[in-house]
Symmetry: D2
Subunit: 440 residues, 4 copies
């Protein structure tokens, strides 16, 4: 493997960030970035802001911050905008969703948050049944809607003097859609737009609009959206990166840590029962079985890929895996995931692991969104187009090349991400061999 540095354009000027959805996640990102800028809070959870990277050998003691190592946009360079079917500003959204402490983290930056007013959204209740909103684009055909979104992107860029843009989906989960003929190549996709084909949900119009404007697109929800051949084709054609899908924030994060442990230790698995209770808008949307089905797909696949039952039939070929999500309003934006894991060890003896994760949805998701914005922008400046597999670290259902299986193991994902940064900057890959410390 050559270790020469790749060419990367500098991160000069302003980076416009448009969030699709201005709810709990987006308002938590926007408020957080402002608080961090002012030194009122720390960007905990963000690899780009707090993470380091080890370079060279353990004894060299070279461990810079990632943001000092690769040329990322600084958080001072970010400018936020949004679309949402509900007309609340970022201030109103933050107050209503109840994630942040009002007195400590909202009121001090109220003026700034009130500036972020959502543009009218492309929204269709056929795809997200439990929501409704009035701040929507007056109905035209899908082509008109896509063009309107492209115009929004251009207008925002001009109005805020941005040098570059990123679009990120932070909205609710759409109903389950199978990839169909309209998604197989760009020509079919364009035709389907023109025909108002129902296989083109709003999320695809956002992704299409972004890519056509040569703007990277990130998908934080489990919708198909950009995870179809037509979109990958467009991304390569336009020379922009895409990243997705579904932020890996709570129970699945835990799962992609514990399943690798079982496999590392060759401990067998008989069953894994996961139940979630959550009380926010996301929970309400997922109470619709069709939206849940979309989510269930990304949640269930994880174990199969990590555990490789084909390689280990005696350990993993008969796993009973069940995932439940329940809307439970008393929790608000808090989210609780309870897992019961039935494992077996030496000679087949059964044991159990039970995990209760009392987490906060938007607090876990916000730093992922920030990192993805900054890394995707880096990818574009480094000329990396199409699917960014090295960002699998952030996703429940990482997009990947058709020739390979996805990597779900959090630690392989982390190694992949960091070795990609090393490769970009011409540093040696880390293998953890370290035999040299024990040989003459």
């Amino acid at each position: 493997m050559e270790t020469s540095k790749q060419h990367i354009e500098p991160a000069a000027g302003r980076l416009g960030v448009l969030t699709v959805g201005l709810g709990a996640v987006a308002s938590t990102v926007i408020a957080g970035v402002e608080l961090i800028r002012r030194g009122l809070a720390e960007p905990v959870g963000s690899l780009t802001q707090m993470g380091t990277i080890r370079l060279g050998k353990r004894t060299e003691d070279r461990v810079p911050l990632i943001r000092d190592f690769v040329p990322l946009a600084g958080i001072d360079q970010l400018v936020f905008g949004a679309w949402d079917p509900i007309a609340d500003t970022a201030y109103e959204a933050a107050v209503k969703c109840g994630v942040l402490d009002r007195f400590v983290h909202i009121e001090p930056i109220a003026a700034k948050l009130k500036e972020v007013e959502p543009m009218p959204a492309v929204f269709d209740q056929n795809y997200v049944r439990r929501l409704e909103g009035l701040n929507v684009k007056s109905k035209g055909g899908k082509r008109e809607l896509a063009e309107a979104l492209r115009q929004d992107i251009r207008d925002f860029k001009a109005a805020h003097s941005c040098d570059r843009m990123v679009v990120i989906w932070c909205a609710s989960t759409e109903i389950f859609l199978e990839p169909g003929p309209a998604h197989q190549d760009l020509a079919a996709f364009e035709a389907a737009i023109d025909a108002n084909d129902p296989s083109i949900p709003p999320s695809m119009l956002y992704a299409y609009a972004a890519l056509k404007e040569r703007v990277p697109f990130i998908n934080g929800a489990p919708n198909l959206t950009a995870d179809v051949p037509a979109m990958v084709e467009l991304a390569h054609e336009a020379g922009v990166p895409i990243a997705g899908k579904d932020f890996k924030s709570g129970q699945t994060l835990m799962k992609t840590v514990l399943a690798p442990m079982l496999k590392a230790r060759m401990l067998g698995l008989r069953g894994w029962y996961s139940t979630n209770i959550l009380g926010n808008r996301d929970g309400e949307v997922l109470d619709d079985p069709d939206s849940f089905r979309t989510k269930e797909q990304t949640k269930l696949g994880v174990l199969d890929y990590i555990l490789q039952p084909d390689l280990y039939p005696k350990l993993y070929s008969d796993v009973y895996h069940k995932v439940r999500i329940n809307y439970y309003p008393p929790l608000g934006d808090s989210k609780e995931g309870w897992d019961n894991i039935d494992i077996f060890g030496w000679l087949g003896y059964p044991m159990q692991i039970k995990v209760d994760f009392l987490c906060r949805d938007s607090i876990l998701a916000a730093p992922l969104a920030l990192d993805l914005v900054l890394f995707t922008d880096l990818a574009q400046r480094a000329g990396l187009t199409g699917v960014q597999e090295w960002l699998s670290f952030y996703f429940k259902s990482p997009q990947h090349a058709p020739s390979v299986y996805p990597e779900h193991d959090l630690f392989i994902q982390q190694t992949k991400l960091k070795n990609t940064l090393r490769w970009l900057m011409g540093e040696e890959q880390i293998t953890h061999l370290g035999i040299e410390y024990y040989q003459d």
Copy 2:
């Protein structure tokens, strides 16, 4: 890094395995190996027996079993012996400790288990206060005891026509000892033996005897034992590997998986409260505060090394870490570890993870003991002497070179182990970069 294969002697003939202690762990290993030989049970939990290793690129699909890839001794080649201060055979030990189902897993191999009778032990209640036994070597000085152990090893090897031997400590935890002057070099150590110095506990006599007989020594408990300069010096001089210390089997295994997750995601940590309840002989011994202190050291260090508070002061410099072990007879050989983990995320918001691990001590430890025996024997045949850092994967407190810090992260340990096997066999290191799938 060159990728030429290392020279490794073939694994011909019989491999004698002497366990120090013939209690729950040792009898579970011995019974298990016999059951597996006869096809009556599976070696679940054993990387050497069930694990695979990926070679080359993801698309090559080369994933052999580890035991087909590196030349390990087969389980048919193993012959077991033991020392124990209690005269029970492996059969009686297995029945009493209650780990295995008597009808399914003990009676069918009773004759074989009865053959394993423990040799009289070197035992001193000053170092393990809650135990007593009559099957002990008649008191002489420490030098005489060491020589008697050497003679046991030679006798066993001859009596069972073994080609090679391994000694593994599967006994109770000794009281806490600080490394002292007698441990700093081999000459001082030898002098201390001759002087019956109290800084030389029984476990060091076992390790010394093994190494002097050019037999690898493995330490499954947290005692100092071979983790002192004098022993490393002797290991190099004698050309044998040593591996230790303290099997990483339950709560610490979990900790070295969850802490890396927190660090990977830059989630902060305020406190980690771990409590254990266990009801076997190990629990009884650890109820002695001096034995517990030894254990506490190996259990507490883990977080500091993984979390690197110097690199991440805002996330990990103020962690309140508490570990408790309680003897609780109702559990028998079962062991339950309950962890409450107080973390914080974006802008400092608190969250909690609670883990309840209902495990079985000996069931988790047995495959580790088997793997360590086979890998240590491999190391010796490959000419790797002294500390085997690549076996850190198996230990709570891995021995390491003085020039580097220990690796506690289970996934770094796994990468290190597998890349060491690749290096031994002349295969390429795996880096998970995989950028080639996304470039033209």
Copy 3:
């Protein structure tokens, strides 16, 4: 309240017990009674066998065993029979359901268990969809089936020289049925039988047959069955007691203990999320949404009655209560109930209780079945007919007089049961006032 003793017929002769269903619960009862008779096990969980009752004042120290206080049939007097659509004997049922240790608790009494062969059942898959069986009565109309059951009861009584009989439902949950016109009085009910009305499920035919034969009927499942006016009318007419419904064995038992604690302490409740995983035949049947609906009714009602939101609107009028049951085969007959309870205290501050109950379905249910058989037989001999509210202690959804609300609080139920026994025997009621110890 007068304290004169009630007249009770002696418990002479043999008591025949017919279980509807010969699965996990019934076989565990039958095996257990035999083991206890032989001194091979203890009747843990049975109030009639192990319970005591305090009489008079605390200082009198009169605390006899309940079975020495009231004239119950002894377990030596019991003779078991059963109906089941599957032809397995009690021996085969016990082996298959995996509740009891085969070597310790099944094989020693195998001959006895094999004697219990199920009579052909009245079974209809329209009412229990996930089961099927061949050991069923050849189809006739509902009247013929009812008559066949009556004949079975008479035949069994004669064949085994029984003096008295009891019929107890230990079978699967039928689909949800609303009480309808056919259930309102006995005449309508008889007409519906003759008309093969679908509102008469098999369980009602069993109850009808028992009552017509002047045999008490107990319902361990949540089916409507005897909980309709027509059946209560028949019970009074025939002079027999009825008791039901749905054994209170696991999560609901816990709920009827914790909810009274909240109310006793005036702690508020915002939400209660209960999830169950279980892997036996019961779990499989409840995976059918229509059977689950029947169960859900008995599980949900509990909180409302205990917490009295009308009396305490500020504490309990806005409770989000959700109950989930999931079929999860890895658990077998074990059953795990996880509850998350969101409470609030002083000034409204939130707190949480989480309970994980790792229980065994049939082990919990078996002693309830035994107690109910013996107490119902006692009731009949004491001339108590119709609904036995004092047995509410045993049920998730206790039948009760139309004029009063049901009591769900376990401790009120226990007081009611014990004070009823005191009343039957002419002893004073216990009030726990005890002011006399503190006054001159």
Copy 4:
């Protein structure tokens, strides 16, 4: 039992409440009462404020509020004062202990809270080692200190025009003291005060001073204090009630609910492991083994009394009960109790219950303190002197007459309390017999 009403003096005028200790509990009570007065919060958790009592038969539907049924002082009549070795006002204490939301529940009543300034305390670090304070009475002998406390009570009563007073211990746990000769009668006790005997800790001086002033004394901590014959003698002589000891607020509350369930159902118990983590001043004090020992006594006794191993040797004579408390600062005033309960059922089969109680120490204790103040004042007006067993409901280690055992079962305690109120007011005792609904 006669049902004539007892004579009770009216609750006219102001009731002075002096808390010993002005920390988390006391400041939470004082702030709460003020907020409730102003309609800014609800007295959740308080039986006197929110509880009802059922009178007569179920069908009568007579269920008044307790405060409408018995003549209690109203919260508008309360005036608070305190002693504390730290000079913080109730405002400063509330801010520092972090129990209440500052903006919602502290600032709006800041002026009122600042009025409560602690009087100098009688404090001696020999009895509470982990605390220190400067706001203490200048050292005199124990007699002088007791007289100073009496003077404080008289002064406060006069200064605030109180008609009646109550003193309640809300301070830290003193070290463990065995009852000795000095505690056996009042004469010996008086002599020990005069002799500065070390068997008289500060808490006894407070109790002594209160009783001498004919003021009821309540003990919220596990110290011996008023739980000795000398104090009971004094209480009777002075004609005042005493109530104690140790608020039953968290894990023990749960234990006195779950253990009665086990006994009600005749489920056996093998072991109960309780661990607590808490981060407030109380946790810090209990980190001293001598203070913990005092607490441990009140926590351990509970099971024995409830389970009656003498009556049920097969179920409860071999219980392994362990209680651990760990100071764990990340929790602050939150307190988490984790219980693992090993039970066994039918034929001896093992099952487990695990409970995790995420509670808040002062939020649970505050309403108990309020209720005890009001009920103790009622007791005095009703002429009930000495130990108030009917208030056992509130205590971990309820004081009781020497002739009887204490009642720990929460539901017996509740019945006792409510039947005592009924007896006071001349209403019939409730027995839950209810046989009348089922007889003609």
